[in-house]
């Protein structure tokens, strides 16, 4: 059970009680004269112990000198009154009532010959102790909540500069890491050099660019090999240079830039700038 605040209706184990309905005048003539009607609001109590403490306070004596018998009677009257208005009471109120009724009868009756049951005086004292303990914790809670609070009464520095921790890196590596990094990378590199030995290839674009430079000079029939293969290519490149140049020359013939002739199969290729262009 939790009470949201002192006034709002709280949730109560009995559940669904309308506050207005829960409020009623308690029967009882124990009140001091002049005191306002003892209006009991079940919602206002946090359980039977809380109610008992409130009733005990009305005895206006030190809790250690309280009359537990009187207290039990008041509680039972309260419960009786609540039942008369058909107020549904939480089970723990009724359990307490049953226990207090038992305690009351034990306090009033002479002790049974065989004292097998607990001494009623002990039980009463224990109840008084519980009430005292509840009252004490209430007072403690009160004192605690009256303490100056941080952020309300006490303030820390509004704008602290802050303490810096500068993280200086501390590198760690083992000799094994170092050696294996070295070995792995050198081995990889050594092997990839062998397998990836690339052939040098003259691209079509490169061949065309070279050819265009040559054409300017080739007013007369000239062999392709004389210019390109001899001067540009190393022996290893000869084939790719010849192949790419031939393809590029066919392109240029098609565009009407040069003439191309070959006297017989596998004979040298002759190349000449188109006459019309040469005349310009």
């Amino acid at each position: 059970m939790e009470r949201v605040n002192d006034n709002a209706p709280g949730r109560v184990a009995s559940g669904g009680l309308d506050r207005a309905e829960a409020e009623f005048e308690a029967a009882g003539g124990e009140r001091a004269e002049g005191e306002a009607d003892f209006r009991v609001d079940v919602d206002g109590y946090e359980g039977p112990l809380d109610l008992l403490l409130e009733l005990a306070r009305r005895q206006k004596v030190d809790l250690s000198r309280i009359s537990v018998l009187a207290l039990a009677e008041q509680y039972l009257e309260f419960i009786e009154a609540a039942r008369r208005v058909r107020l549904e009471l939480a089970a723990d109120y009724l359990v307490m009532a049953a226990w207090l009724a038992y305690l009351k009868s034990r306090l009033l009756l002479p002790a049974p010959p065989k004292a097998e049951e607990p001494d009623p005086r002990e039980l009463a004292a224990s109840l008084a102790r519980r009430l005292k303990r509840l009252q004490a914790i209430r007072a403690a809670a009160e004192r605690l909540s009256e303490r100056p609070r941080l952020g309300r009464d006490l303030f820390l520095r509004g704008a602290p500069e802050g303490l810096d921790i500068i993280n200086a890196p501390l590198y760690r590596a083992s000799l094994f890491d170092l050696l294996s990094a070295y070995a792995i990378q050198r081995q990889k590199q050594a092997l990839s050099h062998v397998s990836l030995k690339t052939r040098q290839v003259w691209s079509l674009a490169e061949a065309r660019e070279a050819l265009e430079r040559i054409v300017g000079m080739a007013v007369e029939w000239t062999t392709l090999d004389d210019y390109l293969i001899a001067w540009v290519a190393t022996p290893a490149q000869a084939r790719t240079v010849r192949a790419s140049t031939f393809s590029a020359s066919l392109e240029m013939v098609k565009e009407g830039l040069i003439d191309l002739r070959q006297d017989r199969a596998f004979a040298p290729l002759w190349l000449r700038r188109r006459q019309a262009l040469a005349a310009e």
């Binding site: 059970m1 605040n5 359980g47 509840l134 914790i137 403690a140 609070r149 303490l163």
Partner: protein, 239 residues
Amino acid sequence: MADQDSLFDLKAADAAAFLARETPDEAQREVMRLCEALIFAATEPLSEDEMLKRLPQGAALAPALAYLKAEYVSRGVNLVRVGKKWMFRTAPDLAWALQREQQEPRKLSRAAMETLAIIAYHQPATRAEIEDIRGVALSKGTMDVLLETGWVRLRGRRRAPGRPVTYGTTENFLLHFGLEQISDLPGLDELKAAGLFDGRLPKGFGVPQPRDDAGLLEDEEPLGEEPLNEAFASDLPEE
């Protein structure tokens, strides 16, 4: 050098007497200046360990803090200790000038405040002990609210049938309520003398001192990994 521990509770008159008796030398003055600057600059209460890490080797921290505390007792800002941590904060009697209108801290319900008080004065406390003192069942919401404030923590489990979870207060609790240590709780001595919080102990066994140490008591054990079979399973801090 006077007994330092007693200085940590010193009042203005004690402080004046202490300062009249003891005068820090130049080296101590310098350690004091450093402590002052460090605690001032820190965004949170500063532990003595952290201070030592930043002070020159062999600096005498304890006397420096004792002097500083004494010097600040009568000022508008006080040096206070919470557990093993230090901070400056405004003097309690100046609250009226500092209070900021809009910032009213959320008020705890009476149930929550009482539960907090039981946990504080009676810790480590189990749910059953809290319910026994208050005479009503403890709602899950109340405990949720308290855990949310950061003032209450789950400490461990009681070595008892059902291994119930034990609750205690945090350093934040001390900080928030301006307590240096848990034994500074108001009225604690009277309550102990009256034997009112001997809940689970038979009479004559003495009264347990509230404990909020990080370590567990003899009758406590770690929370462990098993699911909480309490009604408060959801109280466990999220991982």
